[in-house]
């Protein structure tokens, strides 16, 4: 009796060992040469050998007490699994799908939050405006000094005008524009990241950003430069503020999911919402980079207020129609 079990255990290995060796050799070949250089016959062998190895593993787990054999089969199966299922390639196709379907869809899904954030931003602007109008001392509270760079309530109209139309030659405004861009991207990222803390910091941050905007506008308006300031701001600001609004809407969505997870666990809720919110956030980063380029080039070279408004308005209309009207989904619906 003892002899017969030795036979069966040995048989288990003897009968299948050739397949394992062939699978291992094929994986080595694949690692060395890549899938394109393999012959058709070899490629057809791959899934068959993978399944054979996987079934050997299942069997060995049930009947074999040989640790080394189990470890070997485990490692080989995992290696084969990574090869066959590990990675879904197609970066190009995926990028196209992101721009044509996923990004607008993710932004549309955040519609309610987006509206709320727009309202919050406007509220902040009104508050900032009102406070600075009643007491210019508030300006210093809203605008950090390194962003203000002398454009305070005490600056003369000529000074302020010079900054709006200074052009890119003196180098100063370029530096400021880049600093503003970095600052605004950080605000957008913070709005998103702080969403995890139940969304509360995001709300405050958006409100504060609105206050800053209102303070800026009020200072310029008090010198009769509101129209020009609006132009200077709108050329890239429509894109940039939109991006901040979307980022904070995504943050809020995650925050509410964490705060009110329903019958999911909080971590699951965060993970599920995070996935669609992250798509919108990636889009916001793209928008911010676009705004950065506009800021670096457009704001300095285009000095006519009407043209600035035209570009800003055109971009806003463009983004809105891209997100909310355009729905080219037919080709990318299949996952």
């Amino acid at each position: 009796m003892s002899r017969s079990t030795i036979q069966s255990a040995a048989n288990f290995r003897a009968e299948r060992e050739a397949d394992w060796a062939a699978f291992e050799a094929l994986l080595d070949l694949l690692d060395k040469r890549g899938p394109k250089r393999l012959s058709e016959a070899e490629l057809l062998q791959l899934p068959r050998l993978y399944r054979a190895t996987l079934s050997s593993l299942s069997l060995a787990r049930a009947i074999s007490l040989d640790q080394a054999l189990l470890a070997y089969l485990e490692a080989l199966s995992l290696r084969g699994y990574y090869r066959l299922y590990g990675n879904r390639t197609g970066l190009g196709h995926r990028t196209a799908r992101f721009f044509l379907r996923d990004w607008p869809a993710a932004v549309r899904a955040l519609g309610r939050e987006t509206l709320a954030m727009v309202a919050l931003l406007i509220l902040g602007t009104v508050i900032g405006w009102g406070l600075v109008a009643s007491d210019p001392g508030w300006y210093g509270a809203f605008v950090p000094s390194e962003l203000a760079q002398g454009r305070g309530p005490d600056a003369s109209a000529a000074q302020l005008r010079e900054m709006l139309f200074g052009g890119g030659t003196d180098g100063f405004l370029t530096g400021f524009a880049i600093q503003l861009f970095v600052h605004n991207s950080q605000v957008a990222i913070l709005c998103f990241a702080l969403g995890f803390a139940f969304g509360l910091p995001t709300v405050l941050l958006v409100l504060y950003h609105g206050c800053m905007l209102g303070a800026f506008l009020q200072v310029y308006a008090s010198k009769g430069l509101l129209l020009e300031m609006g132009g200077w701001l709108s050329i890239h600001g429509t894109t940039e503020l939109f991006a901040i609004v979307i980022a904070s809407a995504a943050g809020i969505r995650i925050g509410t999911a964490v705060a009110f997870p329903g019958d999911r666990s909080r971590i699951d809720a965060a993970a599920q919402t995070g996935r669609s919110a992250a798509t919108a956030m990636i889009g916001a980063v793209v928008m911010l980079m676009f705004a950065g380029m506009l800021e670096g080039v457009g704001r300095q070279t285009i000095n006519i207020t009407a043209a600035r408004y035209a570009i800003g308005g055109f971009l806003l209309a463009g983004w809105c129609s891209y997100f909310y009207l355009l729905r080219p989904k037919a080709r990318f619906d299949g996952r």
């Binding site: 009796m1 003892s2 079990t5 030795i6 255990a9 040995a10 290995r13 291992e24 996987l54 593993l57 299942s58 049930a62 009947i63 007490l65 040989d66 640790q67 080394a68 054999l69 470890a71 070997y72 485990e74 490692a75 080989l76 199966s77 995992l78 699994y81 990574y82 090869r83 299922y85 590990g86 990675n87 879904r88 390639t89 197609g90 970066l91 995926r94 390194e146 890119g168 370029t174 530096g175 880049i178 970095v182 950080q186 990222i189 913070l190 990241a193 965060a270 993970a271 995070g274 996935r275 992250a278 798509t279 956030m281 990636i282 980063v285 980079m289 950065g292 380029m293 670096g296 300095q300």
Partner: protein, 282 residues
Amino acid sequence: MADSTERHRRDLLTPEGVPLTVSIASAASRLIALVIDFLCIGLMMLALYLLLALAFGSFGWAAAEPIMVGLVLSGFVLRTLYFIVMEARPGAATWGKRLIGLRVVSRDGGPLSIDQIVARNLMREVEVTLPFMVVASMAASGDGALWAALAGLVWALGFSLFLLFNRDRMRIGDLLAGTWVTERMASARAADLAAGEAAHFIFSDAALDQYGIAELHKLEDVLRTGDVRALRTVTDAIARRIGYNEPLPDDRQFLTDYYRGLRTHLEREVLLGTRRQDKHDI
């Protein structure tokens, strides 16, 4: 030893329905891989800066503006592209990860999608920069509410070091993307210890009933390591337990034969439906 590795083991359910065991990478190896990756990116940025300096040298102030924009944006673009493109390749690992032997897998056992890769890598941007941003904005606002600064910093660090506070060693990015970072488990095909020529020692069923699967695996370890003193100790222990009193000239032969007998015995029991876990399990 088995206990400490056991804690890092997770089952990954393949589409075929077979659970495969993966080993979660430790925080230390993640950190080392990250440092290597940042070194690689640093070198690339250095090359880019040299190139930009060369451009500045030949174009002068006329090109200063695009060069400056390039400088500001290059870090972010390079980092993001490096991680995403590297992890989108079949190895699912950056250079740092590959050197340490790590790779990214999807927790649900399905293929790792581009979305997951993008999500986990963009989140890294936030995780790495958030503490610095908090400190910088605290320093900038300047009015020095120390407790507020501290609270902000603690929160930011909790966010960034989330990895240390969960057993799966997931960053926030991993959590959102639904991924694990696993360690490579290499294992060469070893010869079957139970195969081979006929046994010199024949053991009775009573002698083979003395041990269970745990001892069988210990014995396998000892035989595969082949340490002479360990062989000696184990031989003594087994001979005493099964009451074998003859002189033993060859420890290895004795142990190999006992291993063969015990494994056959236990495997037969397994086939019949009983798994005797160890010597205390009757």
